[in-house]
Amino acid sequence: MSLIAFLGALELGLIFGFVALGVYLSFRVLDFPDLTVDGSFPLGAAVAAVWIVGGGSPWLGTGLAMIAGAMAGMVTAWMAVKLKILNLLASILSMIALYSINLRIMGRPNIALLSEPTIFVPLESLPVSRYVAFPAAIAVGLLLVTFLLNRFLNSETGLAMRATGETPRMASGNGINTSVMVLVGMALSNALVALGGALFAQSQGSADVTMGVGTIVVGLAAVIGGQSLIPGRSILVATLACLFGSILYRLMVAVALNADFIGLKAQDLNLVTALLVGLALVLPKLRLRRRPA
């Protein structure tokens, strides 16, 4: 694999780190399998792209993308909590609805951002290559978000959210409004995913309505894979494991697709992903079986 391919994979891994944090929040903390992310990732991209193409500030566009993602997450949570629709099903409804909404927002299936003033444009005037500057800048942002997420999950409200996901009865017995916790958590989760989408569109140069397909699987690959390789119950270890998983996943995909002798092509990406996630799900169990209790 060339250095450029490696840096490209690293950049994607870092961008999907935001998605991994979002999926960690819904899937692990709230115990809410959330397929909304397949819609909120392109939603973030669409909102940011439309805003930037329309001449708006890319920073504000990225912020608006997060707000749009948060709203999508709240709709899913509201269906699950207030309308009592099974959580997985509620998220599938949101995902499907978002496909139409994203098309409406963009007005066409894709928007090019190659010559637009994205948040990455200032980096292009730096003396270092884009392939180094982009991942470095994204890494800084990602670490900042991870730090804030850790602060939040260790706060009083954060503890309440973690208890809501695991023992909702005990949580409400302690005065926690579990419905509000699910709403807030899902909003936060999808805001992070939409942020990932907005950054993806700006760094890769386009927003496409189909770019969200499989976002949840990539997120799960990062969360499950990362946490099975770096176990540990503390929030800090868990969130860093998700980031590690996200980067590792992209590198593995790049290796698999670049190694000619395996004979894989780009169209095999989803098959490779499914195999990797399946492997990450099964490996920890095999390890347990070998070590008798």
Binding site: R151, F152, N154, S155, E156, T157, G158, L159, A160, R162, A163, E166, T167, R169, M170, A171, S172, G173, N174, G175, I176, N177, T178, R233
Partner: protein, 264 residues
């Protein structure tokens, strides 16, 4: 203080599975009173606790806790009034949180939760003092995941957690039933001590007639959703299990036929 006014609870009303669990309960428990509630399977003991905790809604009926009408309040809105220990030691604590995080969670019962850090050194000190009284060495394990503790240890911690914040009433729901006898008596003694020290108003549901007489200052027996008898003060002093059985026969006109009740 607890005041229950003509409490009825029916599960699955209007269906073939209709089950009239509570049939007109009237009960008043004064401040500082520690009542034990006994009854066979299906007598309605747990439902009674759930009505008080806000997990089941009385229909019709009126529930007052500390002079506040809480009949329609969901559990989380009356958490400032009610603390509870569950039968299942896994239910009252959150397995993936650490010991100190669980206790910090309980410290905020019935309070607004902010975005500040849940734990600081002052709170840690308070939690350690609290845990030290158990004599289980848990004060040195604040950072352990609570999932690493045994069922008995978790139940003792649940009890401490319930008592961390002020409350109007404490509900103990067969909280020693799932423990082995030695640790069960430890948890029972600890409960009685905490209730006495903090002068709590408490309701303890139990399956064991012996236990119902050994602790507390009032015993209520339930049967088929009604209160069969209610003894306290002098009337209760010197009673043993055989006397309870006689009281039950006199009140209900039949013998106790629940084996688990007789064996407990």
């Amino acid at each position: 203080m607890i005041e229950l006014d003509n409490i009825h609870v029916t599960f699955n009303p209007g269906t073939p599975l209709e089950n009239h669990v509570l049939r007109g309960i009237n009960l008043r428990i004064d401040n500082g009173e520690f009542a034990t509630v006994i009854g066979g399977n299906g007598a309605g003991k747990s439902t009674l606790l759930n009505v008080l905790a806000g997990e089941v809604c009385a229909q019709p009926g009126r529930v007052l806790i500390g002079e506040r009408d809480v009949t329609r309040l969901p559990a989380f809105k009356r958490a400032d009034l009610v603390a509870r220990v569950y039968q299942d030691p896994l239910a009252g604590t959150c397995g993936s949180l650490t010991l100190e995080e669980n206790m910090a969670l309980a410290c905020a019962r019935g309070r607004r939760r902010g975005l500040g850090s849940a734990l600081d050194s002052a709170l840690r000190g308070r939690l350690q003092d609290n845990l030290a009284r158990l004599g289980l060495g848990l004060e040195n394990r604040l950072n352990d995941s609570i999932g690493l503790l045994s069922g008995g240890q978790r139940q003792a911690v649940s009890l401490l957690m319930a008592a961390l914040q002020p409350m109007e009433i404490l509900l103990l729901d067969e909280h020693t039933a799932a423990l082995d006898p030695r640790i069960a008596s430890f948890v029972l003694t600890l409960s009685a001590d905490i209730i006495r020290e903090q002068r709590l108003t408490a309701l303890m549901v139990t399956h064991s007639m012996r236990q119902a007489l050994d602790v507390g200052d009032r015993t209520i027996m339930m049967d088929q959703g009604e209160i069969a008898f209610d003894v306290r003060g002098e009337q209760r002093q010197g009673l043993d299990v055989a006397d309870l059985l006689k009281l039950f026969e006199r009140a209900r006109g039949q013998e106790v036929d629940d084996d688990s009740l007789l064996l407990g």
